[in-house]
Symmetry: C2
Subunit: 208 residues, 2 copies
DNA sequence: GTCTATAAAGAGATAGAC
DNA sequence: GTCTATCTCTTTATAGAC
């Protein structure tokens, strides 16, 4: 039988990371203090250093975790499809849904990477660059197949897609307004077909 | 005749704001120090307080300046057109080109508003809300005219547009890669018509 | 694994001379 | 309008007991 009063959960490295992500995403890294983090965990500031080395290392771990999570989810999703446009769609869906599923983590990673020292930032820039390359590749493939506009450099097409997906972190609130899968379909629909009324059907109708 | 050695420009409120925007956009507000700002201006930290009241007021002024600039540019651009889609296009172009024309200012405003105290943030939230309402209105009008997909809530359509435009501040570098007007046309093209190959022309050709 | 106590550095801002 | 000098507070992190 469990005790009646809920015991405070034990402080683990995992819990420290979760609370840190929450705090960093709310106030930003620089404005967050180790004192406040300790307070949220219910321990003294000094006790924190049994679990972590430095505040910066905390941020670095969160950034790496975020990068690995998005990269992994997207590569796994892409691998489940063969046709270029479907692979691109799968990538976009995985990217956004992974991001929205842990907003604290990914908002921190996307916004606060600049707070890292150049040395701590380096592996992240490599990961980001690799990831962007993957997206660019997917778009290039879809262009090669004749599905995506070839007159635009895949570089700008991939950055456009990331634009469209990433800014959501600044306003999306789970449980308020719209669910993640619906938002995903709206953004993907705009990216692929645009916001204008589709006259393809009309054009075909005119033919018949 | 001008002197041979370039005189250091005099420290004015305007220069303080410009340097502050630069510093805040590079390092973030919380990680920026008044000491560093003074150093960049070539004066002692104490001298700064002849030009400004507090560090926070500096941020607040930048945020308000940014909001007024974007709002003003967009409303002026919209007023030059009558047809709903053209008004929407004019808004998007004005928004992005204004933003990219002073990245330091607008990056600071868009990213660092949360660093303001609730009291200082309030007028900004009002301005943002009004602005978003304007964009939503433009989209609603275009939907009413049958030009923009009516099956998507204008709320999500407007946020999608802002997504697509705003994230550019994180990677756009003036003079590197692509010029602002070109980027604007690419993003606008994607927003309106999408990244997929347009089969409208094909469909029409088949008819003839 | 958490505590008390505190070191060491850096922050925003002010006083008052020039 | 800028200076020197400094107050006061907060920060990250450590030492060492329990």
């Amino acid at each position: 039988m469990p005790k009646v009063a809920a015991a405070a959960p034990p402080v683990t490295k995992e819990r420290v990371l979760v609370e840190a992500a929450k705090m960093f995403s709310e106030r930003g890294y620089a404005a967050s203090t180790t004192r406040e983090l300790a307070r949220r965990l219910g321990i003294q500031p000094a006790s924190l250093y049994h679990h972590i080395a430095t505040k910066e290392q905390l941020l670095q771990e969160l950034c790496l975790q975020s990068a690995r999570q998005i990269d992994g989810a997207v590569r796994a999703a892409v691998a489940r499809h063969e046709r270029p446009v479907e692979r691109l769609e799968a990538a976009a869906r995985a990217h956004l849904e992974t991001t929205l599923a842990d907003l604290d983590l990914h908002t921190t990673a996307l916004v606060e990477t600049r707070a890292l020292s150049p040395k701590a930032r380096k592996p992240l820039e490599k990961a980001r660059s690799d990831y962007e390359h993957l997206i660019r590749q997917l778009i290039g493939d879809a262009q090669g197949g004749g599905y995506v506009r070839a007159e635009i450099d895949p570089k700008w097409l991939s950055l456009s897609l990331l634009n469209l997906l990433n800014w959501s972190i600044f306003w999306y609130q789970p449980g308020v307004g719209i669910a993640a899968p619906e938002l995903t379909e709206i953004l993907l629909g705009i990216y692929l077909r645009g916001a204008l009324v589709d006259r393809r059907a009309t054009a075909r109708t005119r033919c018949s």
